[in-house]
């Protein structure tokens, strides 16, 4: 699986005074993949991204790209480019000059850099707005301009810091489709930091879940979702119940639960809420030991034999759906 041009974190640590933001993290990112760094705020995902970008120094460890340690290099010499959360477009420059900025810094003449900038703007479908100022663009357009600006240096790795968080929900879904499409076209590694599990699952070839300064689990979106290894991952990704049976913790997808009759294996639980969600009905229940359990029951099955709040039901599952949690 290892190749020449992959990005690797080797025992990377980031300390702010006595606080540890990233604790001895090692990981090899799948080259040419869309990677999502997923975790709650303060988990160290942004610090990790900023260390890769070179906007934060590495306290300990190394960051390898193409087999060389880039952790001591300035941001522009690393082969990475970053797209900032608020896009950070220069408000006093036209979109064209924004995109051409890094070429201007290299001392490339105006004609060459503008034609290259037009190419990149064309790639993101923004060429007709080249002469506008950032303030004259919508959020989605600003994001595309920021993308074009980041891509003009031909980076091997594009780093995106919560790129969709400033957009409204409708635009967010559209832009994430465009990001994915762009990544496919360019074939470079995208590392996308987000705290939204739906965003990560929808986009990522590889999901890296972080919590408390360490990587909890990494793998393809399906692996991570279907076989969470820790209680944190199961809870953070959602759609899972964490139940304890015979002293062990298991993750159990809520859509794999069904209502059963005794003596089938299962748990007795009291229904506390019933929510109709369209395709499914979400049953909120309290099981033995005050465990909160959610079951997603297909709506036609549910309404064939409706259940009221307060009723006691028995929920069952197939044993292959139980995933043992290590923590």
């Amino acid at each position: 699986m290892r190749s020449q041009n992959d990005l690797e974190l080797v025992h990377v640590t980031k300390r702010y005074g006595s606080a540890v933001a990233v604790d001895n993290v090692s990981h090899v990112f799948t080259p040419g993949a869309y990677v999502c760094l997923l975790g709650p705020s303060g988990c160290g995902k942004s610090s990790t991204l900023r260390m890769i970008a070179g906007h934060e120094s590495v306290s300990d460890g190394a960051i390898l790209l193409n087999g060389r340690d880039i952790s001591g290099l300035p941001p522009a010499k690393r082969g990475t480019a970053m797209m900032f959360q608020s896009y950070a477009l220069f408000p006093h420059m036209t979109i064209l000059d924004n995109v051409a900025f890094s070429l201007k810094m290299q001392g490339i003449d105006k004609k060459t850099r503008h034609s290259k900038a037009h190419e990149l703007l064309d790639l993101v479908g923004m060429d007709e707005l080249a002469q506008r100022l950032p303030a004259q663009l919508s959020g989605g357009q600003q994001q595309r301009a920021a993308l074009a600006r980041a891509l003009i240096t031909n980076p091997q790795v594009l780093l995106l810091d919560e790129p969709l968080s400033a957009l409204d929900p409708f635009l967010r879904i559209r832009m994430r489709g465009e990001l994915k499409k762009l990544q496919r076209e360019l074939g470079i590694t995208f590392i996308h930091v987000t705290h939204g599990q739906d965003e990560a699952l929808a986009l990522a070839d590889e999901v890296v879940v972080m919590n408390n300064a360490v990587i909890e689990q990494a793998g393809t979106a399906r692996e991570v979702f279907n076989a969470p290894q820790t209680e944190f991952v199961a809870r953070f990704l959602g759609g899972h119940n964490v139940i304890s049976l015979e002293g062990k913790h298991y993750a159990l997808r809520s859509d794999r639960l069904r209502l059963v009759e005794k003596p089938v294996e299962g748990l007795d639980a009291a229904v506390t809420s019933v929510e109709f969600l369209g395709t499914h009905v979400a049953l909120g229940m309290i099981g033995p030991g005050d465990t909160a359990i959610t079951a997603m029951i297909p709506e036609d099955g549910f309404f064939a034999a409706p259940i009221e709040t307060g009723a006691t039901v028995r929920v069952g599952w197939d044993s292959q759906d139980l995933h043992l949690l290590t923590r």
Partner: protein
């Protein structure tokens, strides 16, 4: 009365009337009066209402007056250049090298301490420092850098500009600091990400985004220096004249029409200077 209230716009007019009255009485009327008096005539012992251009003819015809105006401009230009470089540097340091807000506020307040005493005291305190046998000369002689006291330290152009810079640098620091603090720090990172060196970030990002603050500070400094007379009088030992002193001398001699004419010309000069400066930068978004 009630009908008056109901007329469209009546309430708006009433709401603006206090400030309007203040401006009319304390700004427009005095300026109007000065303009009117500037056309009056005068003899050695009397002034009389008239409408004549004698005062202006004298002003524009006199080589001395031209020289004084040039001197005033020179002071303004040099003071502007020095206060701008100091003010920009201080604001830059406070914004980008001091990382906690507490320290930024503390150091900024430190800059304002000189303003706890009056202008004149701050000016005069230079005199014992710069004098022939002052601290500056004695230290320089003590260090063996010079053999004789430097004569140009006090009562000279140097002393005047030094005092101007001392008095007015803060007027440059405040607006520049204010604009700089509003620059999104991620813009600096984005520039670095794009490969900009420290100097390129300064010229391509920070200076363009700080321009409105620079312009507001420049207007303060230019207006203050052009209108000053007391600093020039004290620090030059009455040996140097600027337009302010021209006016003050005329008033001392009770030549009000001539003083008024000079004041009108000075006002127009300052307004034209500021208008030219505003052509270069749009400060509206700062207000």
């Amino acid at each position: 009365m009630e009908r008056l209230f109901r007329r469209p716009g009546a309430q708006s007019w009433m709401l603006v009337s206090p400030i309007m009255l203040i401006l009319v009485f304390f700004l427009l009327m005095p300026i109007g009066m000065i303009t009117a008096v500037s056309f009056w005539g005068s003899t050695e012992f009397s002034i009389y209402p008239a409408f004549q251009f004698d005062n202006y003819e004298y002003l524009f015809g006199s080589q001395v007056v031209w020289n004084v105006f040039i001197k005033t401009f020179t002071f303004a230009l040099i003071t502007w250049a020095i206060t701008l470089s100091i003010g920009f540097t201080v604001a830059y340091f406070l914004t980008f090298h001091v990382h906690t807000l507490t320290w930024q506020i503390t150091l900024f307040l430190l800059c304002t301490i000189p303003f706890w005493t009056s202008n004149i005291i701050r000016m005069i305190s230079w005199v014992p420092f710069l004098g022939r046998n002052g601290i500056a000369n004695q230290s320089l002689i003590g260090m063996g850098l010079i053999d004789e006291p430097l004569e140009w330290l006090l009562f000279s152009d140097f002393a005047v500009i030094l005092a101007f810079v001392h008095l007015y640098t803060l007027f440059m620091v405040v607006p520049i600091f204010n604009t700089m603090m509003r620059i999104d720090k991620s813009l600096i990172e984005a520039a670095r990400d794009g490969g900009a060196s420290g100097f390129q970030i300064l010229t391509n990002v920070i200076i363009p985004l700080t321009k409105p603050g620079i312009m507001i500070g420049s207007i303060f400094v230019v207006a203050l220096v052009m209108g000053d007379f007391i600093t020039v009088r004290f620090m030059s030992g009455s040996q140097i004249a600027n337009v302010g002193r021209l006016i003050s001398n005329d008033i001392g001699l009770l030549q009000y029409p001539s003083a008024a004419a000079t004041a009108v010309v000075l006002l127009c000069t300052v307004l034209i200077t500021i208008a030219i400066m505003l052509r270069f930068v749009d400060i509206r978004k700062e207000l």
